[in-house]
Point group: C2
Chain length 458, copies 2
């Protein structure tokens, strides 16, 4: 049994829906289909979800949003036309959007959440109708009816554990289940959405609940690349990687897959297969619990800008019980999250995302506060760092991976500002000046992927 999820660009037009139909019906194991709202048809197009947000906001302000409402309906109508569907489905969608806009708006956040969620919900209805029109048994399933209950946090709902048992009962249904992504229902019966791109989360929850053999995630790229293609030309594709590797890569710049979405599949040990709707025969990338390590120690390299470091030194820091805790508590008081805290004997460095300080204009205040609370000798801020993650589960068995990485950076004249490698050894993190990020990533890619002995994809 497979749960299949399609992203917005895979569902943007009638032509795309035909590909989806072909993919789903090509394998009888594809029993549950999770859908996003229609995405962009071309680069200057607007996603239905964005139209809905504008529409809801204008209605709240002016009590009408006729043009935007029509633009939404038009998107569905053009797909229905392209596929030769009757008008019934569009009438249904129009009534639904009308009702949502005219609903009680005493809680604007909740009101907007319901409008946003209709993008997926109505698309699921449309797609079920299309499958039926093609003579295939398919049913739209509403998340409330299916028992997908979530915490009451609009825009960042968390699945409630009992949902999994409810969803398991969907296995008894005949035909293909077409399920809207992105939202669930609170126990009080209100629609609550996941974080943005939350359809990936719904698919993962469904895969867990249905105890699927695999969770197929169809998007618009052939595979996850071993490195950012804007930094390295035509990089290798990754055919298989573990949850942990995916998570470490997605932390620093890889955005193919919504990393929070991995959790339900990860907890149930269900592999996630990323594939391309526009090229379904491509092998894609499989995310698994464990993999063979036949392809060299490194699976991918990711990097991200926008970090800064706060260096704190104090003579005999190491002897002070509670020093580190005081540092972290001070950060918490300012609502700051940190990424890493590498330390020497009498110094400690906090790596954090720079925008947190800039947005709040608290740089000087924070430095002064740290100096005061800790009675530190020195507190120094350094801006514009990039973090580079070199990721691969096999690194732990490989004496010398660190040496190769450091050597490659050294040859490229990149100074390593910081190294952080925990005992997990799934990843190695290098901090470099942002201005040297590109050279650094290129040098590391060259070292680990350009030799014929370490192919990542055949």
């Amino acid at each position: 049994m497979k749960v299949v999820k399609f992203g917005g660009s895979s569902l943007a037009s009638g032509k795309q829906l035909q590909k989806v139909f072909d993919i789903v019906t090509a394998d009888p194991a594809r029993k549950a289909v999770v859908v996003s709202a229609p995405g962009k048809r071309h680069s200057t197009d607007t996603k239905v979800t964005d139209l809905l947000i504008s529409c809801g906001e204008q209605y709240l302000r002016l009590g009408e949003a006729h043009d935007l409402q029509e633009a939404v309906i038009e998107r569905y109508a053009s797909i229905a036309d392209e596929l030769g569907l009757g008008h019934d489905i569009i009438d249904t969608i129009r009534r639904d959007v009308d009702a949502l806009l005219q609903a009680d708006s005493a809680h604007p956040e909740r009101y907007l959440d319901a409008i946003k969620a209709s993008g997926e919900d109505n698309n699921a209805k449309l797609i079920a109708a299309y499958f039926q029109h093609q003579g295939v048994e398919a049913h739209y399933v509403n998340p409330k009816e299916a028992g997908l209950f979530v915490s009451d946090e609009p825009g960042q709902a968390q699945v409630l554990p009992e949902s999994y048992d409810h969803l398991y009962k969907l296995r008894e249904r005949s035909g293909i289940i077409v399920f809207p992504g992105f939202f669930g229902f609170s126990l009080a019966g209100d629609i609550v959405t996941f974080s943005r791109s939350g359809s990936d989360i719904t698919g993962s929850i469904l895969a867990n609940g249905l105890k699927a053999d695999v969770y197929e995630n169809f998007t618009d790229v052939d595979a996850v690349y071993a490195v950012n293609p804007t930094i390295v030309h035509e990089p290798k594709e990754i055919t298989e990687l573990t949850y942990r590797e995916m998570r470490e890569l997605s932390y620093a710049g890889f955005s193919v897959f919504h990393d929070e979405a991995l959790i339900p599949a990860f907890r149930a040990g269900i592999p996630v297969q990323i594939k391309n709707t526009n090229n379904p025969s491509a092998k894609g990338t499989k995310i698994v619990n464990q993999r063979d390590h036949t392809n060299g120690p490194v699976v991918g390299i990711a990097s991200d800008k926008g970090f800064c470091s706060i260096y704190i030194s104090k003579y005999l820091m190491n002897r002070e019980v509670g020093f580190g805790r005081k540092v972290l508590q001070t950060l918490e008081e300012y609502g700051l999250t940190y990424e890493h805290v590498p330390s020497g004997i009498d110094d400690m460095t906090i790596i954090l995302r720079q925008d947190q300080l800039e947005e709040q204009h608290i740089e000087q205040e924070l430095l002064d506060r740290l100096k005061l609370v800790l009675e530190a000798d020195e507190v120094v801020l350094e801006r514009n760092l990039s973090l580079i993650m070199v990721v691969g589960e096999a690194m732990r068995h490989n004496v010398g991976t660190t040496a190769r990485a450091a050597q490659a950076l050294s040859k490229a004249k990149v100074n390593i500002e910081m190294i952080n490698q925990g005992s997990s050894e799934v990843s190695m993190m290098f901090g470099v000046k942002a201005a040297q990020e590109k050279e650094a990533v290129q040098a590391l890619y060259e070292e680990f992927f350009s030799m014929s002995t370490v192919p990542v994809s055949i």
Copy 2:
């Protein structure tokens, strides 16, 4: 003006005292002499401080400690005889020890502290008498009279800031000041000792108070070695290193100099010169605030066994505000101090000294507690790690030092369990299995010290 401190082995016999006399009088700038208690004359000898501790403890138990008391007096008497001093000084010492043993023992800790401190105090009196006997103006100075006030923490006194101003007044005294190390007085007038080897601390405080040009510390080795001589045969000597380098080295196994003792000199920017009483013409090792980096990036390599790591992983750990703080707070609840906390995205490793867990038999309890408090996916203890510090201020300007170190370890087939390099870059820390410590240190020494381009001492 120089403050000169002599360690116990430099003061163990009359013959040693003659060397001390020659050294002090060879340079008129040597105005203040800080002395330890007489140390060992040969490897099976007992230090006077240890005799005093046994003596005091037995007296507390049995109300008499005649033999031990005689053994103490005998040590001073044999020195006085060797130097041809009269009996007055020994009579003074005997009366002092008698009085201390018969003193009020209502507070045994305070009682023992006073007895311990007499080792240095009486030695200072003896040495002043010897200098006078040689026709040199020298005066024993009591720390109370000089105003060396400390916190009331027996065995771990901290100097009170006002002491520095009091000590400055000693500059007005004529002749050589002979000052006992190891203790000061509480504001209530009680003797309180520093931590063991605390004479180094007294010397450093005096150097700061007197605003000395240099603090000379005479011991029984020619210099600080670049690496542990039991691991590498006849290693190079370090002629100059910074306070920070010294501190990082002393953290992991270097014990030439009491590292807490560096603070007062460090705060006042006074260089510390380590020299050998038995070979005063040897260049020695100078500890300074800043140094030229003409000798390659690495100044020394230290290592220490007895560490363990606790690996904690939790999916999406990185998104949880307060996770790290909770970890450190749990350690604090158990009174545990940690050394480092390298981290990945969803994992964190705590490096700590193993004996803390073993002494308290809390290993399993701690792991269970961490798992519960953090709702962690995995909490795993790994024992028997060694930490290796590669230290050198010049590393920060040297692209490629990390690469060289990692390469050397890789060639020696040493697996790097952990790397921790903060943005200070004064040191690089490698965690390796204890069984590989020796190979690792040898390989690193070979890399950084064996080539003719990086001599440390000429």
